[in-house]
Subunit: 135 residues, 2 copies
DNA sequence: CTTAATGTAACAAAATTTATTACATAAAAA
DNA sequence: TTTTTATGTAATAAATTTTGTTACATTAAG
């Protein structure tokens, strides 16, 4: 997760929360985040497909928050934008090594536990909670 | 953390644990992990500087576990190999945007909380615990 | 019909990560 | 003392991932 996706997704959702009821453009969002609009649209696709966001095409179109921000939890969002293991990738150990060949199955369960614990922690905070910190 | 560093560090330490008392070479470790020996030595540098590992140069040299494996905790190890935020990087929002300009300080504290929770979870498991799963 | 928006593919550029080569240094053993 | 075998690390190359950009199809309001 050495990327900007979580930060970008949160930023998008906070803006949508602050402009609840209205439609704002990806251009506007991109201007606030300071990235290319296409990057924003790519992230919006994920949010839309997860049912968090509504998009309206054409003139007077734009984006709008679809789901209740008190029901959008940060862990859920993290899972959405990060499909990989939080603790990173795994090697492909030498199958001829009796120790190495057992490594990945044990790492996998450690990674799984860690991901779950992280998501549970993040789920304690909703988008509404987070956005409320921003005046 | 979209890299192999944590998996690599754990693998190294498990091998050192299994060969406790002996010196094993970075070449041997690399052979088990299936990576270049230089990658292993780079990681060993971090482990050595943190006092986990002892290295002996020259003929008959190699690596050996220095610290008691029941006192090496996974969270500590994770911190060692991952200096960045677990939840990723942050954008550089437009300072002219009243919402955007507040984003990073709030994200920073969320990131901090998440990192702490993750490390606490990982610290419940020691190297000894982890290695014991591997016969 | 014009205008202004999303949606996406295709490609380019940048940044990060891993692999490799080369060689200095150290220490044991012949 | 010389040879052998290790670590340590710099420098560079290659691969992969991430982000940026361009282009254009599609959609809908006015």
């Amino acid at each position: 997760m050495n990327n900007l996706r979580f930060a970008t997704a949160v930023h998008i959702l906070v803006l949508l929360d602050k402009f609840r009821g209205e439609f704002i453009t990806s251009e506007f969002i991109a201007g606030s985040i300071n990235v290319n609009p296409v990057v924003v649209r790519r992230e919006l696709k994920v949010l839309r497909e997860a049912g968090l966001v509504l998009s309206k095409k054409g003139k007077e179109g734009g984006l709008s928050l679809l789901k209740d921000p008190t029901c959008i939890h940060m862990g859920e969002l993290y899972k959405l934008v990060n499909q990989e293991n939080t603790l990173g990738r795994m090697n492909h150990p030498n199958p001829a090594c009796p120790i190495g060949k057992q490594m990945n199955s044990k790492l996998q369960s450690l990674f799984y536990q860690a991901d779950n614990a992280l998501i549970l922690t993040l789920n304690k905070q909703s988008l509404a909670d987070f956005a409320a910190q921003i005046v």
